[in-house]
Symmetry: C2
Subunit: 248 residues, 2 copies
DNA sequence: ACAAAAGTGTTATAATTACACCCATGT
DNA sequence: ACATGGGTGTAATTATAACACTTTTGT
């Protein structure tokens, strides 16, 4: 921090930074959800001017008493009613012209949620809608850039870390998990090799129950071994055969 | 972006966001350097109140006409005279209490530079000093947290991408490169396996000249094949044997 | 001749890939 | 009985890890 322009505020007896421009700081959330079948993104439609009727990420300005993560949590909670979901800082965006109304720095966060569990809680006031990941509409400002970056980040991270489990319900089948990976990477994965790899992680506990909704035979449900999940989260597991062509 | 508080500015005819707190936005740079022998970090010593005589990252406030990356470039250039060095956004920091003087959001960037090439250009006005990576002093605010995060990011990224070449001079020896990896990972690496892995990337071009400074036999200089470097930068190469225990 | 770092070679083990087949069940 | 997705097995290939020795040259 370059402090050479700091002055002492007589009224409070504290140092302050003089003659510096203060800027609006916002947080925008890229919210990914999976319903066991399709990977989606949650967007809101602007009901008011300016930018009325345009699709946008859910966002808000940072408040005096909260940190960036807290602001992202608040914004996510306001829209979805969700708490304690996976939420990670993506990047700060600060081009002078990114917001045509007023200069605004935006810190983007992405969230991974299970649509089934939470869809009833979504706040209708924002006209939120789930879009298929490849069928999202045009977005305001640089929000599409944020979404692309978030997709890339997820691809990158999910190649080595089990973050995609955050999108699944408590119990899920291996075909559902594979289907999720296939959508994230836009690729077909060999189911035999996939099952072996997933099982080799030791992260899954097989349940007695079966899901019969997608086949006659039915697929066994599994649940996450939460202890192992937490312990192994940072370790590297090659979930994806050829993680070649990602852009970092 | 939540725009519900936008109003129309009569004087300019543009929409503006009303009743929102504007905050100071700074950029701080974690500058890593390698002199062919030791991995170091560049810090500045505060010459003025407040926080006089304390060590700090080089930073500055964002200006009206520049984006975040541009601000980081400017700050880096001001201190080191360097341009076109590797510079990557690390994370935005925004705890309300992170800066005791005034609420400030800081976007941290890290830079990778070759100390030999640039050390003459360093601006003395900031009392900058290179510290060994493991012998850095206490820093102001949350700067130590930033440095730790940057070290982790470099470890993470360098395990799969050839970013550490950014720290090397145009010509370098493989022992120098290995030494750099060993310092980044605080680990001994088998030189036989290391050489094979580095050569298998096809990224290096062997030069006729030898560096005799560190052994009697001398080690051949190599240079980067810049075309292949750019092409392969995003692809995954396992540079590090067991990338197990990194924290993401 | 010897010390010290540079550089080459080999082999065992483990991970990855590319395959083909059987299973369970609702219709 | 058969169609459909679920699940198991195996063999070839490739990558990784562990290891020892030879080369060069200044002193």
């Amino acid at each position: 921090m370059k402090l050479t322009k700091a002055i002492k505020d007589k009224s409070q007896g504290k140092y302050k930074y003089a003659e510096q421009a203060h800027i609006l700081v916002a947080v925008d959330c890229i919210i990914f959800g999976y319903d066991g079948d399709e990977l989606k993104i949650l967007l809101i439609k602007r009901a008011l001017e300016p930018a009325k009727d345009q699709w946008s990420l859910m966002g808000g300005f940072i408040e005096a008493n909260e940190n960036l993560y807290g602001a992202a949590e608040r914004i996510l909670h306001t829209l979805t009613g969700l708490e304690e979901v996976y939420l990670e800082q993506l990047k700060a965006y600060g081009d002078p012209e990114r917001d045509p109304f007023e200069r605004t720095i935006s810190v983007a966060y992405f969230a991974l949620i299970d649509i089934n569990k939470y869809k009833e809680q979504i706040n209708d006031a924002y006209q939120a809608k789930w879009f298929l990941i490849n069928e999202a509409p045009k977005l305001i400002f640089d929000h599409e850039k944020m979404v692309e970056k978030a997709k890339n980040r997820i691809r990158y991270k999910a190649a080595f870390h089990p973050i995609l489990f955050e999108l699944l319900p408590r119990k899920f089948t291996i075909p559902q998990l594979q289907n999720l990976y296939e959508q994230v990477y836009n690729a077909k994965i060999d189911n035999r090799n996939f099952i072996r790899k997933v099982n080799s992680t030791g992260l899954l506990i097989k349940l007695a129950e079966k899901d019969k909704s997608s086949s006659k035979r039915g697929a066994f449900y599994y649940k996450l071994d939460l202890n192992k999940y937490k312990a192994k989260f940072s370790s590297f597991i090659n979930f994806i055969p050829n993680p070649e062509n990602f852009i970092l």
